[in-house]
Amino acid sequence: MNPFRTRDPLDLRRPSMMRTGVAVLAAGALTSLAACGGGSGGGAASASESDTVTIALDSDAAPNGYDPLLYAQGQFEFFSAMYDALFVTAPDGTVTPSLVSDFSNNADNTQTTLTLTDGVTFTDGKPLDSAVVKANLDRRSDPDLEAYGSLGPGQASEITDVSAPDPKTVVITWAKPQTAPENNLVDTAGVIVGPDGVADPTSLETTPDGSGAYTLNTDDTTRASTYSFEKSDDARNADDWAYDTIVFKVITDPQARANAVVSGQADVAGILDPTTIDLVESRQKTVSQGGTIVGFYFLDKTGAVNPAFGKEQARQAIGYAIDREKLVSDLHEGSRATSQFFPEDAPGFDPALDEQYAYDPDKAKQLLAEAGLPDGFDFNVTVLGQPTEDQVAVQAQLAEVGITMNFVTATSTDQLFAAVQTDPVLFNPFAPGAQPAGFVAGVLYGGFLNTQGAKEPEIEAALGGALGATGDAQTQALTDLNTALTANAWVAPAYEDFTYFGYNADKVTEPSFAGTNNYLVLSAIQPAS
């Protein structure tokens, strides 16, 4: 019942939930792709078995209906069955043209010209043309559309203009030079909704309108519970997909989800709860992907909600009070204790930071005293249902230095979302991906984790360097950014975690993550031979 647990945090269907939580993750994932070059690479095309694959998800993938633009990039794992995108992420992480037969960028990477694939038809029966693509991209200023999170006005990858000189050609103009412009149009961000859907987005709440290989089987679909897709054999890329039917099951109970893959009701199940991994591995197999940073993300850096959080020392004290090694060794064997926000694989990762912020309760107390809080302080964290084991464990660790972390139980998502405004801090996992600067820009500094608009010149400077520079300068800027976040205690991470999927090796081959992202490439799921 933890809303921000990972890529797709939703236990509960709620638009607001999507807008915040998913936006965060979307931004992170998008930026992570920036490092990957363009190029070719097809989806798997074996498709020998024509059967059903069943995938169990930890939360509803389409809580607000079937407009894929409402969702984060990770949701492409689900929507790619019904929708095609301009570009998609291949298992090796490369960005691959899909609805685009050819594309080119201008010299300074401020303009991208796309040539659209022929013979693409939407569910509504209308063909793909440049007008449809423009109509899609013209929705980018709608703040509800998570997929366009970074394309909107004022965002890192702002699009200033989309033109359609001829039915097969689309020209996109970017506000700033982009390292690899096509990477901004990958997966959900590049999804093209059919003309009818674009014209009347509310119709998408109940009726998908895509050009994908599958259509929704409404008879076998129960919203928020079971989604069934049937392959339409006349679809353009039908041969790229292995299964006639893809079924998504939403199983929110972690044990039930693990049971599902163990006892064969699901061929693939994710994200697995760490407590169930032993069970799954005893019968089936798992795949995992690192890069999820679990820890404190400070919201109230100005101290507006809780004055203690306005004091850097107090926030730092929290960082020193967490016994990460113990947390990892006792509760998260296999994870990596960390006190920095950047994952181990990301550029800018600095092992020294972890040393600097090692567990030191005395230091924490000293910092508290310096902050004028010798007796510690209290703060509230709102949870839906019950707090996680981690949260309870950390609560006890904080109590050692005199900091009292209270859990406030929300019984509805309303309450939970209101809490984002009133809680001083989140203790949650976030997945910044392999290129965390984008996450910092879109979320941590410039977005939902900083709704108070706190300023920190050190971070700002480093962020500018990280986004603008290239090569070694960029690496240095990233390291600086990472250091600045930690030093100024904007975050207080605990450990870097893995995302686990379980799969039935008798039925499917090992599923592939989309590059370094922590979601799967749906089309790459293949029957085991």
Partner: protein
Amino acid sequence: MSVLPLDAADEVATEPVPPARRRGVPGFLRRPGGVFGAAWLVFIIVASLTAPLWRPYEVTEQDTANRLALPSADHWFGTDPLGRDLLSRIFTAGSLPLLSSALMLVVAFGIGLPLALLAAERGRKVERVTSRSTEVLMALPGTILLLAVIGVIGNRLYPVMAILGVLISAAVYRVMLGVAQSVRQRLYIDAARVNGLGSLRVNLLHVLPSMATVVAVQAAQLFGIGLLIVAGLAFLGFGPGEPEPSWGFMIQDASGHLFDAPWLLVPTGVVLALTVVAANELADAIAGKKADKVPARRKERLPVAVADTAPADPSAVLEVRDLSVAVDDGPQLVTGVSFALRPGTVLGLVGESGCGKTMTARSLMGLLPDGVSVSGGSIRWQGRELVGLSEKELTAVRGREIAMISQEPMVALDPMFSIAYQLVGPIRRFRGVGRGAARKIAAELLRNVGIVDAERVLKSYPHQLSGGMAQRVCIALALTGEPELLIADEPTTALDVTVQAEILSLLRALVHDTGLSVVIVSHDLGVVADICDDVAVMYAGAVVESGTAAAVLDDPSHPYTMALLGANPHVPEGEPVPLRLASIPGTVPPPGSWPTGCRFASRCQFARDECTAPFPALPAHGSGSVLCIRVDDLASTHATWDAEPVGAETVADAVAEPAPTAGVS
């Protein structure tokens, strides 16, 4: 989450249990289930409420290095996923479900009980309104509504359980209404009202105490259900927030470690289940349900040594000799009863209640209650010994050769089946005819017993018949097998005197027309005078006088018979009514406390010392007998049992030792 304990409504005896204070221990504590239930509940309540004082660890005290540990000396129940001590957590967690279930109970009974009392008191109009509203409340999907409530008011267990109490009050009302209505029908309520007791006091002093058992039973059961619901809510995450422990979430938590630490599921689950079991066991014990006194499998009766004597009266179709009936491993109910029945005659067994006449009659068909059996003597039916026959052999006799009609015709017929069904079955079995023919015979039988509109009666159900009509149907049913002996156990006691006369006429006509023999049990000497050829007067399990009805009633030899006749207010034609009736001091001694010698001696006007020694029955009234050693003295002095003098009754006599009212009838 669980079921409202409505199932219990029918099981609970509404008869109030007399207080047992004097006996030291409440009755329910005499059953092992009750002892266990009460002990565990007291233990869990005390242990939970005092947990902060004795628990070995703080509930939040983590030892993550020692997580998911099995029981050890340090952690008796093991540890949870954060290495917290399960024992401390389980008992600390107890107080909340226990207290909030108690709150739910208070609310549910606080609403349901007064409403039930009110509805029972104010009658139909009020009752209809309250019943309809509670029906609505009961139709609401409780759990879903509860979730909605939590959504609206938040995760606050006490208010939520209070609201659940409101929902459950409907069920409480429904159960309590039935009980209150039945209690209000008791006459002591009317007596209190006539005394002028106000509504509140009637309810508090008389109605409520009589409902106490049911209230206690229902409360105990609901308490268990409340615990399950609190745990269920916590299982869903709507319990006290971590790190505070709750049973439901501990089970939820444990279910996540089913694979790596299955033990985790055991302590919490067992404590929760034990607590609910304890509440239910306590409820059962309070209800006095004798689950352990399940009737033992109907055993074949042990063959009784039968004195194989030649029939004394060759003309008798039924001859009973020295018959004894006793409770297995208990007192004798009937001793040394002998009588003979000639074909086509009616024999009356007469006496007060508790004299063993019904037991004697029922032993003739082997239909004694469970735990009571013939302990000696002989029942010779048409030359065949019935004592010692197997159940199967007796079944062949019953209905075909010997049939029976009983005291309460309204309950002697199966209320669930039509009269036709109940008649046709035995007719087909006894006479081997088809359904259509059987139905014709049934109608014919009904007409034979004086039912004019037989077809209508055939289609009726027992509750649609009047008592007299039902008794006629019972007689018709008894006649389906064309029996030669009919045993009629107080066949007219429950009927009006005019109806009694009709039934007696009918029986007499049957005897006359078909040659049927009848053994009739009655306490009414008038009935005996009306229909019987012979009579056996029974007192305290023995026949004290027998002979022809005319001889015994007109010229009684035994003081008891004299006293019975003297107590009868129906004076002979033309005689004045006496100022006072003859009466017998004291009561019939219950089985097991019969004196040696004459059992009537202690109440007898003519008793002497010699009466306390055993003596044999003497012949009297021709073929009859009398069991009185002074019979000749009395006859020679023309002794009569005199009425008591005017005013004698208002003097406090040595009111007999408290007479246990249990016994046989």
